[in-house]
Symmetry: C2
Subunit: 205 residues, 2 copies
């Protein structure tokens, strides 16, 4: 967005410029993956979209696999941070608000990009091990945040699986939005399952 004059650029330390370039590339990669899928997403296409030279892009990310797994990881971290910021005091009184926020993590461009990456990884041996590892890491982090925000006590039998099933549901709802935007249906399902969760987990406090 907007040009940066040479004078301005000179005031920004080199390390910060490098970090900003990296970030532009990661954001462009996610947008590209969400819009065009794996087949249409190359380092060149992303570099052009980010307004970065191909050489600079390859300096940051030597391979296509490096770029796209880093991109999904970066945005997953951004989303986790944003989710925690929504409920700064930890366990929320309002479980429906928490379930809504969790489900929102699985709709929108990040999930779409991640989905393209998963599907591509299922058929591409080069991509598969690192996407599997990334997916496991993101999954564990989402679970940790969900347990915390829902005020769930995992020492109680069944609670861990209740939370896992909820995140699976969120993922399934995300998948359903890939083709049709069924926001109204999604909100009704979320309301109902939030109330089932209240029965299953007890009242927070």
């Amino acid at each position: 967005m907007g040009g940066v004059s040479t004078a301005e650029r000179d005031r920004v330390p080199k390390q910060d410029r490098s970090r900003a370039t990296r970030q532009r590339l990661l954001e462009a990669a996610v947008a590209c993956l969400a819009e065009h899928g794996w087949a249409g997403s190359t380092v060149s296409v992303v570099a052009e979209r980010a307004g970065v030279s191909r050489g600079a892009a390859q300096h940051h990310f030597p391979t296509r696999e490096d770029l796209f797994t880093a991109a999904v990881e970066y945005v997953a971290e951004e989303r986790s941070t944003a989710l925690r910021a929504l409920f700064p005091e930890g366990a929320a009184q309002d479980r429906r608000a928490v379930v809504t926020a969790l489900v929102d993590l699985y709709t929108g461009p990040l999930f779409r990009a991640a989905l393209h990456l998963w599907v591509a990884a299922s058929n591409e041996e080069q991509l598969r091990p690192r996407v599997t590892e990334l997916e496991a890491r993101v999954g564990r982090e989402s679970h940790r945040i969900a347990v915390e925000l829902l005020g769930a006590d995992e020492s109680e039998p069944g609670v861990r699986e209740t939370v896992q099933g909820l995140l699976d549901m969120a993922r399934g709802l995300g998948l359903a939005t890939l083709l049709t935007d069924d926001k109204a249906r999604r909100e009704r399902v979320v309301a109902q399952w939030a109330s089932l969760l209240d029965d299953a987990l007890g009242v927070t406090g």
Copy 2:
């Protein structure tokens, strides 16, 4: 599997042979989509896999889109039939068995093929409308079967959304198996949510 002699072939009416060819093409298309994704799935590749000439394949399915949407629809119907056959008396006493069977619909090669088709459709304008329509139809049918087998009374408030959320969860569990086979985790989640469903839907009988 195995060759068909000319003598045998002559005993089979033409219409049946045509139906058998169609079926071989559809099954090969699903296997191809699950293994190689949309990018690697063309009419030629499927025709070769099915042992059918390219011309015969195009007689049945003029376009690639025709072939693959028909394939996913065909297998979805096969799976629905198989699911109903598991519980011939309708509503089952054992909700856990029903939930397990429903979740099984979303793992395995059919779901994998459907997932490739959805993801491709999200970026391909030619494919999108018919895959969206197919997905809506398969979704309605799955919902109808789930309601019946779970013995759910949709006139009760929240019951419709409970069942929808369950199917979303099944879809999310299917997505999780795309990269890693987490059968043990899946079974624990299914057991727990089957018991939550018993609380939410009441006891069948």
